[in-house]
């Protein structure tokens, strides 16, 4: 211990303290801080990049899954659409048939009615014409019949005879 104290040099201690503390302060400002900052920054950027890559990978997977799901759904929808279209078509055809039949029936009925009307009109006109013609004939007959007295009396008699009350 005495040897140690004897060996101790205050001057050396003084310079050592001065230089060493100065060195700590200088290095802290100009070396350690920038070095550690740069290293930290680098480490965080690497970590961030790794995380981002992992995230992107996950996102990619989820997108693919989504794609699969969407594709599946689309397929199912197409299937159901086709099915619906098929059944719809049959319905439409059936309906159209029914409608057409109804329309045809209606047209047929109308045609029949109009035929009946025409027929009736024709008959009426025929009757009228027949009556006219009969009247004309009757007129002519009467005219001819009534040319002589005899014939007149004969007719009257005849008529009286016909008209049996």
């Amino acid at each position: 211990m005495e040897k140690l104290i004897n060996e101790f040099s205050f001057g050396l201690f003084f310079w050592q303290s001065l230089i060493f503390i100065g060195l700590i302060l200088l290095l802290r400002k100009f070396a350690w801080k920038p070095i550690l900052d740069a290293v930290n920054k680098r480490e965080t950027s690497i970590k961030d990049a790794m995380n981002a890559a992992e995230e992107a990978k996950k996102e990619m997977a989820s997108i693919q899954e989504d794609n699969q799901k969407v594709l599946k759904e689309a397929r199912a929808e197409r299937e159901s659409l086709l099915k619906e279209a098929r059944s719809n078509g049959a319905d439409i055809v059936a309906q159209a048939k029914a409608e057409a039949k109804a329309e045809a029936d209606k047209i047929f009925a109308q045609a029949q009615e109009s035929i009946q009307n025409e027929k009736r009109a024709a008959l009426t006109e025929l009757k009228n014409q027949v009556a006219q013609i009969s009247l004309d004939i009757a007129e002519k007959v009467i005219d001819s019949e009534l040319e002589s007295k005899e014939k007149q009396s004969k007719l009257v008699n005849q008529l009286i005879k016909d008209t049996s009350l």
Binding site: L4, E7, F8, S9, F10, G11, L12, F13, F14, W15, Q16, S17, I19, F20, I21, G22, L23, I24, L26, L27, R28, F30, A31, W32, K33, P34, I35, L36, A38, V39, K41, R42, S45
Partner: protein, 364 residues
């Protein structure tokens, strides 16, 4: 980049060369004194101490029979009723008395004493000098080493910090080698011991501490012959800063644990308080001694093994010593890192205790 590498390489080769010459000087000294073992012991002890000059090698001139030192002088700064400054070359390694104002100074066993004009040193019974010792603020070899290390660290880590902006968040250059180590200190030392929440404000100190100790430990293994972290003043300063930070950031829970330990009987609380209070001092004290002792011991062992090569002076013994010295050198490189790691981990652990938060109901 390649230019810088070339610079490092040439510096390394240069220092290796100087170490070879340093060993050479060892043998020459031996020839003149005759007592190699005590010479080596003195040499090692001298190496462990701080020095007022930055010497790379020394040898004895054959013609003048005087010791010649190759290196550079450093400024000597004394506080003796006023500031006294002169170059360490004037001390001539203790052979010269320097007059400054009305006072005379002399270097004796690595320390500067105030003497009379003739440079007389008086001793007490234990052969310790009794002369007045002015406060020595000299820029010694260790101070220069600390300054250079601080400069190196600043350039290195400032470069690393700037490379992030220039190169899109990726480190570039020499600093790139240190990025994983910075992250290691954060992820394996700071966060597990202090916790995610509080670790950030201690990072500056822990990182500086770790690299400072590590670099200086490694510098001590170069042939420059520097022994900074094996110096008690240095480890005392580091431990003191850890001590201050720990107790300044200490929260309610930390202090409660020291003065009134929860969850133990009343009588135990009274016994535990002084023990815990003592622990406050012991913790940083152990930090100080651990680093000092490990590095000093490493230097002593390594230098002794190298010295064995010159003691044996035969093929078998010397080559065996070489292999041993080589293995210890490699272990010492590991120890340099390990001691820096231990100091930092324990500091982080103490900070962790200080900022720990607990529920009031929890009895731990």
């Amino acid at each position: 980049m390649s230019k810088r590498l070339y610079l490092y390489l040439s510096a390394f080769i240069l220092t290796s060369f100087s170490s070879l010459s340093a060993k050479d000087s060892n043998t020459k000294e031996y020839e003149s004194t005759g007592d190699l073992k005590s010479e080596i012991k003195a040499y090692i002890l001298h190496h462990l101490q701080d020095s007022h000059d930055f010497n790379l090698l020394s040898y004895k001139d054959k013609t003048t029979n005087e010791k010649v030192y190759i290196g550079m002088p450093l400024p000597v700064i004394l506080w003796d009723n006023g500031l006294k400054m002169f170059s360490s070359s004037m001390l001539k390694h203790g052979k010269n008395v320097v007059q400054k104002g009305d006072n005379y100074y002399k270097l004796y066993h690595g320390k500067i004493y105030r003497t009379d004009a003739q440079g007389t040193i008086t001793y007490d019974d234990h052969h310790h000098p009794t002369n007045f010792k002015p406060i020595d603020f000299s820029i010694t070899k260790n101070v220069i080493s600390i300054l250079l290390t601080a400069l190196l660290m600043f350039v290195l880590f400032r470069g690393l910090a700037q490379s992030y902006h220039k190169n899109g968040m990726i480190a570039k250059g020499v600093g790139r080698f240190f990025e994983p180590i910075v992250l290691y200190v954060r992820d394996e030392i700071a966060i597990p011991n202090i916790g995610e929440k509080h670790h950030r404000r201690f990072m500056g100190y822990l990182l500086t501490l770790f690299f400072f100790i590590w670099f200086l430990n490694l510098l001590g293994l170069t042939p420059l012959g520097i022994n900074v972290t094996g110096n008690i003043a240095i480890t005392f300063c580091l431990a003191l800063i850890t001590f201050f930070i720990t107790n300044f950031v200490g929260k309610k829970y930390y202090w409660k644990h020291i003065f009134w330990m929860p969850g133990v009987p009343w009588a135990m609380k009274i016994i535990l308080a002084p023990i815990e209070l003592l622990g406050l001092i012991i913790k940083p004290f152990s930090l100080m001694i651990r680093l000092y002792a490990n590095i000093s011991a490493g230097h002593i062992v390594l230098m002794s093994l190298i010295a064995l090569i010159f003691i044996f002076k035969n093929w078998i013994g010397s080559s065996l010593s070489f292999v041993l010295a080589f293995s210890i050198s490699i272990i010492e490189i590991l120890v340099a890192l390990l001691q820096a790691y231990i100091f930092t981990v324990l500091s982080a652990l103490y900070f962790g205790f200080a900022v720990e938060e607990h529920d009031e109901n929890d009895d731990h």
